[in-house]
Amino acid sequence: MSSPVLFYNPREASAEVLEAMLVGRDEVVSELEEDLRRQSRSATRQHWLIRGPRGIGKTHLMGILYHRVRQNGALSAAYLPVWLSESEVYEVYSVAILLLGIARQLVEELRNGGDSGASAMEDRIRELEHGGDDPALFEELCEVLREEAGRRGKILLVLMENLDALFSGFAKQRSGQEVRRLRSLLTEEKHFLFLSTTPTRYLAQISDPKAPLYGHLKERTLQTLTEDQVGELFRSLGKVTGQRKRGELLAGSSEEGRLRRRVVHRLAGGNPRSVVMAFSVIAGVPGVKAVVEEMSALLDAQTAYFEARLAQLAPRERAIVAAMALAPNNLTLQEISRLTRLPERSLSTQTDRLIEKGHLAPVEGESGKGTIYELTDGLFRVWYQYRKGRRVLWPIVHFLSIWFSEEELERDLSNLLSEGIRELDLLEGSRTAMAVRHLRKALEWARSEEGKLVRAELWKPTLKRLPKPGKLDIENVISNLEKTTRGLAAHSDPRLAGIGMSMEVLTGSMLAATGREEKAEEFISLATARLMAGAPLSEKTLPQMLHMILLSFDRKWIQTWTALLSIHYPDAAETARLYRLVVEVLEAGDGGGAREGRSAARQRRALARVPPELRRSVEELVAQAKESHRRSREPRGRRAPQQR
């Protein structure tokens, strides 16, 4: 029987469901498990921090560990797991209050486990009379928890989410004291082992070398899923929801399966929660309605967290964050100043503070004028727009417009509209209205030039497997190709100009790939001359030509081509834009000095500046160009055979 469950809440899911849906996390789970085993017999306590954006699976990971510790004989003999609820941390304003939350949750855990000491512990907690800021409450709770853990000969394994929110909860004037108190807890109290998570990339309290907690936590970052893992997750989802057929849609090894997997992977950005959403959306209208509703619920559930974080900000800082959340792109200081009407000269101080607090990150440049900033939490932008009455959830719109054809979208929209005319109850009517709104936007975007381009790029078929090369005489092939292309070049028939240009690019690429750079340059020059002369361009062959030029020739050629395309071929503006962005990202990654290690970071920042809908395509092209460049620098004899 199929289950209507679309999203899952790891806190409410059973251990079996969590295990069934665990994909791509084997390494980190086994590392954590091994470490828990090691620490169970070690004198040193090493606390952990798991990083990763929202939806990447941090809560899932916590759930897996919580259940495994409870179910495994050796681990349950060594640990008392206490999994704090996500909202717990929003109410914390001092470390003593955090301990109070841990103590209360421990009572629950003990009670659920039939431990006879639960009531006595509860009474003891109730008797504590000091205020939350009083060091005495902290000391007494340390004592209570130490004794309870000691009595059972176990370590309290505290699973806590949103470490960033914990730090934000400390009053500014007491923050230093509280962080130091937390440090003393981590370093001195052997009965505690903290395993925490944060969605933020930078947390000054632990990342700044001057901060008391600097370097105290062992960190791991959860990575996005690979294409194959997306397929695996689809298969798991199919099993868990009783929709095996749909699950197999992406998990299979057929050409179609691989192509669909790639599309979902790119659209979801490898984010597991987005993959789960995609699984539902693929069901069509019922899925769209349900996903819109579920995503709204998800955003509502984040309200406490985001409100709490916003409340910590000064009004001007809040204005900056709001402007960035409502803007379609990442912004420079000048743009922020224009949108917020805050004086530009004071903005860098405020943005620095926001970076420190983990709200913003520079995506290009170190800081100051010219730097482009982004919000560190992608979901915050969606939440804020949603909260501000923009009832359109863009991630869903994009997915719909790419996954379904225009015809399918039109058909679904028309069905929904006719459904809307019928008498429906209020709730169902509202769901339909939301789905209609999203389908309408999806259709609009699918019809736009940009939408078409992105869709075409994403659905470009993967290369079919070719038979092994056998005894292909490459020299002969190139020689014939050269002859044919030169023949075409000599021909002045304007009808052949487009084909001639494609042949010249192809021949040049072949020559470059076989190390004949000089001759290759000759052919690309010929093709460029044709472009300048306004040779006709085919919509289909242009992206292929640009792709070959990117992979085979010096970057200056792609720059020339995109410039010429922008001037002479308005219809190709979108394609030119895509490749211009690729070049920009590649340039950002150039060594540019002795400190080459920074280039990868610069490139990441440049990539972050690319509009989200083009980011995947740009990223892939950049990777291909870099790989091609790397291969071209290898000594010829050592090059590995090209993978197909």
Partner: protein, 493 residues
């Protein structure tokens, strides 16, 4: 470099059974992957057998294990959760004498009931290192103990994350039997009342609330004094107070007080503590991330006002970690981390990463292990790239830049001069360094009248050591980092 393959089926199992209860046991499993492992396995078995015999440890048993999945067939009482798996290849090619140095302490640990046998790179990334995680420092601990023994009060200082707290905790253990060491971390305390209540709990075992009431009734001064008297009288040996994060406490004390009040509060605390120390005839070791004399000066306390016990604290600068056998120590860490070096990897690590400044080195190895979990294997070229990526991203050395900036603010010209000296040392091949005489002259020329003092400060502050009239880097990792900084900022300087 790759990760250990703990799933190999076959191996040789060495188990330590407790005579009174065989269910309490710890094992070492040497896993083999092919015929090439037989010779090294024989060598390490020989070393173990010899050591076990000579130490008279008849609690060990050997068993051949054809399938580690069938552990219970060897002995149903075998405790799988206390089984350490190693690949024989990890111990191949080591000279017998080194193998002995590596394995004998392991056997001793097993015999003592410890299951943690090697330090792991990620075992104490930020937390104070204890037990097996504590690396080296034998010479420093012996030196500290000796100086306490001759009656010195000490001020232990070193950059952040260089292991001061770990050293204090080890010192506490080291002094057991000769001195009654009391370790007190003050960073959680907001007032002397809090300290007094905690000390009373420490001295009497009473819970915090009654201790706090006592402080409310009698005042912190009296309770603190009584606490130390109780601690001293309960122990037959003289007391040593190991005080961690004293400056943090003073900073906490400052909240809400004006400058004068704060100054008085700090002095009152120091005076009282001095009185107590003298009363119970205790010695004192102060440590912390922040420099005590610098802090006292910064809040306007004149040196003459500081009570003599605190004014006379003898500075003890924690030098970079100098292990007797770097390759062996690195191998221990690799064994503890599950990293299996391939040909030349160990030498590369010793020459490039070393453990001179343990925190960043261990952090790198930990991250390397995490990367290997994803990619399976890294050749030298990729490891080098990964190391450079790590060095570019790490903030672990930023404090050295801060020291330079502070020195430069106090002494014009010092920053530039010291930086240039470090540049010169960094540009030389590892372990070659530059002549000490040249450094002194250079510093004296740039900052007249300060050459000697700057030289002493330089060697104390940076991971450098003096070696036969030369100044060399004591950490290859730092040298590599400095070189990369130099490459980036050289032109600017």
């Amino acid at each position: 470099m790759r990760l250990r393959n703990s799933s190999l089926r076959t191996g040789s199992l060495l188990t330590c059974f407790e005579p009174a209860d065989r269910a309490r046991n710890r094992s070492l499993l040497f896993l083999v992957s092919g015929p090439a492992d037989i010779e090294p396995l024989t060598a390490l078995e020989t070393v173990c057998r010899r050591s076990i015999e000579s130490a008279g440890l008849d609690v060990f048993e050997w068993n051949a294990l054809s399938d580690q999945g069938q552990l219970a067939e060897v002995d149903p009482l075998l405790d799988a959760s206390r089984l350490t798996r190693l690949e024989v290849v990890e111990l191949a090619g080591i000279a017998l004498a080194d193998l002995e140095r590596l394995l004998v302490p392991v056997l001793e640990r097993l015999a003592r009931g410890e299951a943690d046998l090697f330090p792991a790179a990620g075992g104490a990334v930020g937390a104070p290192a204890e037990g097996i995680q504590f690396l080296g420092r034998e010479a420093e601990l012996a030196d500290l103990a000796r100086r306490i023994e001759v009656g010195e009060d000490l001020l232990l200082h070193a950059p952040r994350r260089s292991g001061k707290t770990s050293v204090l905790r080890q010192l506490e253990k080291r002094l057991e039997g000769v001195r009654a060491a009391v370790y007190l971390n003050l960073e959680r305390d907001l007032s002397p009342h809090d300290i007094a209540a905690r000390c009373w709990g420490l001295a009497t075992g009473e819970r915090y609330r009654p201790a706090q009431r006592r402080v409310e009734e009698l005042g912190w001064e009296q309770v603190l004094a009584e606490s130390f008297r109780t601690l001293a009288s309960a122990r037959s040996s003289p007391l040593v107070l190991l005080l961690d994060e004293l400056v943090f406490f003073f900073q906490n004390l400052r909240k809400g007080a004006d400058e004068k009040e704060h100054e008085e509060a700090v002095l009152a605390f120091l005076r009282k503590l001095t009185g107590i120390l003298e009363d119970v005839d205790a010695h004192l070791v102060v440590a912390g991330s922040l420099d005590l004399p610098e802090y006292l000066c910064s809040v306007g306390i004149d040196a003459q006002e500081i009570p003599p016990r605190f004014r006379g604290l003898q500075p003890y600068s924690l030098p970079p970690l100098a292990v007797e056998s770097p390759a062996l120590e690195m191998r221990r860490v690799l064994l503890g981390t599950g990293l299996v070096p391939e040909v030349g990897d160990l030498e590369w690590l010793v020459e490039t990463v070393d453990l001179g400044i343990p925190y960043p080195a261990l952090r790198f190895l930990d991250q390397l292990a995490a990367r290997l979990r994803t990619v399976g294997r890294l050749d030298r070229e990729r490891m080098t790239a990964f190391l450079d990526e790590f060095l570019d991203e790490t903030d672990a050395f930023d404090e050295f830049e801060e020291h330079l900036a502070r020195k430069g603010a106090l002494l014009p010209g010092a920053r530039r001069s010291v930086s240039q000296v470090l540049d010169q040392i960094a540009e030389r091949p590892a372990d070659e360094g530059v002549l000490e005489r040249w450094v002194r002259e250079r510093l004296e020329r740039d900052v007249p009248g300060h050459g000697d003092r700057l030289l002493a400060w330089l060697v104390e502050t940076f991971p450098l050591r003096r070696e036969e009239g030369r100044i060399v880097f004591a950490s290859h990792l730092f040298q590599r980092w400095w070189r990369r900084q130099l490459a980036e900022t050289g032109a600017r300087r």
